[in-house]
Symmetry: C2
Subunit: 273 residues, 2 copies
């Protein structure tokens, strides 16, 4: 039996990555850990985020995964280098694939990146974009209300539209051509964000863009996927979900990320790992 | 030297209680713990909240306080009984004083209570109100966006007004006469909430209502306060602030709660207590 893919996030947002994993690599086993007892990470300090990331990775290692996917942008931005140095297996973050996609898709050389306070403060996205092409203009912006909006299931409607206008107006004025959705929750606001930004702005969804990088590390390498819908898929691989807390609205919100019924949720304590 | 008052909250919201403590009992020493590494509590499970509350109380006990004030409504609603049973000193929650005040102030017997998901789900407020007067109609409502709005410093403006209308419209339609602000962050939205609810609705701010109960346990008993403003106050007592994480925007947001300059912040780990 092939080894599973380990995925972790501060909460349930990383299930957007799981959704795309199941679509791209059907049959692959996945072990997911969501640190729901300590979420959100986005407004915490780099030191605390690195400590949490190390504990989460240690937990996933107990399943002997062939790689660990860091679905969380905050951790990808702040702790990926340290995790790669510390652990002897491929650690895949969402930042680099998102940057590559944004660079490939940018028309006018003006890229926006939205994320948590910690992700934006880390300056990791602009630094990586500028390293590849110093001429690109990058505009980073924290949108702290977006995560609670998604957790509330408010993907559209007046409150969501007001929040999107509140945060994204400055980016619209900067005439960006590409916008990186730099937080695992944001893809659920894609329609509303696209509606506000208009058809000239291309949205980059890192939970999709990370798939080719994951494919590089899969053993055996994935076979080309048949085109078509759900009907053409093969047998689905197992998904195990572990959480540091079974939070009251996890099932409801998680189902909207995963777009299907959830497996059994298991509670674990990773604080002393 | 008299013993300090220990105060804890999931984050910095409890500083609304500290603000009122310093106003009501000038000269009193205060030790504050904010569990900023693990906030928010409001969407976590009762078991996890109780575990965190126990660790926070243990930390404050190291300062030999004369009492511990649980500034957090979520903890007051879910863990107060257990903390009182476990620890041999007065443990004061914000729930009972808020209920007493709401009962005293209610005109039409229709009371609203807003708070976090966990506080509202616990049903603690309605249960305590009904115990005192079964005829009162109680309407509980979770407003998960309010905390991040306050953390963003958005006390007014279109986004805050849209969020308030989104959540509070059903309570307005129920024609409540009294509204308990059942979360330490909410008093900072008092003006905006009052503007939406209109002059017929009396707001109950538990961070003020808890003061008489605290006074009962003070040694020596507090002397009557002179009326008047800041100028009439005596020497101010010391305030020590401990946090489980020094979060990026703590200073900015905390200052708006405390309405003055903060003391030095010290980081502590309570996870293994």
């Amino acid at each position: 039996m092939s080894k599973p893919i380990g995925v972790f996030d501060s909460g349930l947002g990383g299930l957007t990555v799981v959704f795309n994993l199941q679509k791209s690599f059907p049959g692959k086993e996945i072990v997911y850990f969501g640190d729901t007892a300590r979420l959100p990470y986005g407004n915490k300090s780099p030191e605390t985020i690195r400590n949490f990331a190390r504990q989460n990775t240690k937990f996933l290692l107990s399943f002997q995964p062939e790689m660990v996917v860091v679905a969380c942008h905050t951790v990808s931005a702040l702790a990926l280098k340290q995790l790669k140095a510390e652990f002897p297996l491929p650690i895949i973050g969402v930042l680099s694939p998102a940057v590559k996609a944004a660079l490939a898709k940018t028309g006018n050389g003006r890229i926006g990146i939205i994320g948590t306070i910690a992700t934006v403060k880390s300056n990791s996205y602009p630094a990586e974009i500028k390293k590849a092409n110093p001429k690109i203009r990058v505009y980073g912006l924290a949108c702290p209300l977006f995560v609670p909006l998604v957790e509330e299931g408010l993907f559209s409607g007046p409150l969501t539209e007001t929040a999107i206008a509140h945060y994204l107006k400055p980016l619209k004025e900067k005439k960006i051509g590409t916008l990186i959705l730099g937080c695992t929750h944001y893809p659920l606001l894609k329609t509303a964000i696209a509606g506000f930004m208009g058809p000239k702005v291309t949205l980059v969804d890192p939970s999709e863009e990370v798939m080719p990088e994951i494919a590089l590390y899969l053993t055996p390498p994935p076979s080309p996927l048949p085109t078509g819908g759900e009907g053409t898929r093969g047998k689905e691989g197992g998904l195990r979900i572990y959480l540091s807390d079974i939070t009251p609205n996890f099932r409801k919100v998680a189902a909207s990320f995963l777009k299907k019924r959830l497996p059994r949720l298991e509670k674990v304590n990773v604080e002393n790992l």
